[in-house]
Point group: C2
């Protein structure tokens, strides 16, 4: 079995547990949406996903897409970002290598980077405040090389 399928199976399992624990219902729509997300790479917004499902032949409403994305976020299977207003951007949780974002406030370009140190730092902070840690994001705002030279 390839890595992609393995990951997809892990998240389906996790989602099933989450659903059971919360006494929610295991619907086709929810599973289809989760699979569609894990079939693809990179960032996506709710409408991207809605269109992709449409093209794949599924008749799943926007309401259900939004609804399910919220559930998946609570289940810690996707992360929600807000690079700019009026559009939430999601990405799959990457179990092996969390990464962070450099954002150009001029052109909106998003550059990803990794940084092992951050994980330790976050662990310490969360402990201090008694939170249950689900996820974390780091956004560095500035001007990218190109925008900075004009």
């Amino acid at each position: 079995m390839n890595t992609e399928n393995k990951n997809a199976n892990i998240v389906l399992k996790k989602f099933e547990n989450f659903i059971r624990k919360k006494k929610l219902r295991n619907t086709n729509e929810r599973n289809i949406i989760l699979k569609e997300i894990y079939k693809n790479e990179g960032h996506f917004n709710p409408d991207d996903l809605y269109i992709r499902l449409k093209l794949a032949g599924y008749n799943i409403s926007r309401a259900t897409v939004y609804n399910t994305l919220q559930l998946l976020e609570e289940a810690n299977l996707i992360i929600k970002h807000y690079f700019k207003e009026n559009s939430a951007i999601y990405e799959k949780v990457n179990f092996s290598s969390p990464h962070y974002h450099l954002i150009c406030i001029k052109c909106g370009k998003v550059t990803e980077f990794e940084e092992k140190e951050i994980k330790q730092l976050v662990k310490r902070i969360v402990g201090k405040y008694g939170h249950k840690h689900l996820n974390h994001s780091m956004y560095i705002y500035g001007l990218c090389k190109l925008c900075n030279s004009f």
Copy 2:
């Protein structure tokens, strides 16, 4: 002169420089908005600000408020956050102590924290990617003490 006024003067000066450098115009509205922001503490959204200006007797349109907030962000005098969708949240740049945010994905509570290490880390990363650094944010998502116990 108290600290508040001193800070307000520094930012007015900085904004003036920014305006000049960009060959923009030094309008009353822009200065009124900037002063109003620095008169207050904590987070605010564009509409909060609009209402506050209204109540203070200024007839400044939403369009101008949005417009100016964008300028102030570019001038690095305010930071924009997206704690949840459909509403940008701003705060003044705090020249002495940058701080970061723990966000509860259940109840939306935002807890601020400081962490000196982060600044160094960010400096290193930005250098690596050739960005011009303006600001950075760290968001840690999870469940706050209260939400985690239910």
